[in-house]
């Protein structure tokens, strides 16, 4: 179980490969990767976070997922700082004996990271900068868990 909050890029392929190789007893590994979508003339993104809280909050969410779905292992990497379109923002990986648990835990983690981990995204476009507004659909997504 590992959580990393970092400004540096991460090596997605290497992370998925080593997570999977280390998940002894797992029959199913799910990974999710979030990417800065280069649409609407986006030129960049700045991710602010709350250093004193971010790591702790994600650890708590991950521990909850591991416990609830009996995961063999779980991983969350989330970047902050300046990101260019096409760059990977974050990833989660879950390993479980069966696929249903690995999928559910990964979706749960994503729904919670979206609305409960202290990150704020600011988008840059030619016209200026603007904070990304939280979506009602993301808040609603939490209700299924």
């Amino acid at each position: 179980m590992r959580v990393s909050v970092q400004s540096e890029p991460f090596d997605l392929g290497a992370e998925v490969a080593s997570f999977t190789a280390g998940a002894a007893g797992a029959g199913a590994v799910v990974s999710f990767t979030g990417i800065v979508r280069p649409d609407g003339g986006l030129t960049g993104m700045e991710i602010e976070h709350y250093p004193g809280m971010t790591g702790k909050a994600i650890q708590a969410i991950l521990a909850q997922a591991v416990d609830r779905w009996k995961l063999v292992d779980g991983l969350v990497i989330h970047r902050h700082g300046r990101l260019a379109p096409g760059e990977t923002i974050m990833m989660v990986a879950t390993a479980a004996p069966h696929r249903g648990d690995a999928f559910a835990a990964a979706e749960f983690l994503m729904d919670y990271l979206k609305s409960r981990a202290p990150f704020w995204k600011k988008e840059s476009r030619d016209g200026g900068e603007s904070w990304v507004a939280a979506k009602d659909s993301d808040e609603d997504a939490l209700k299924r868990w």
Binding site: G52, P118, F119
Partner: protein, 82 residues
Amino acid sequence: MIDVLYFAWVRERIGLPRERVETGAATVAGLVKELCAREERYAAAFADISALRVALDQELADFDAPLAGVREVAFFPPMTGG
């Protein structure tokens, strides 16, 4: 004395990331009221409390939560992680 932190557009509107505040407020809502009374930029940042979130000592809390024993209060918009 309590540390008060601001993030994202709350930080921008108030114009600083953190400050130490002397307060006698019993709850988060009481602290917000004191801050709003200070200056227009605070009133602007806290105009719509339903658009804000608060954490007490790095844990999400409600605006009616008591401040007793709390060392760090953080105000910010709804999170947009992931």
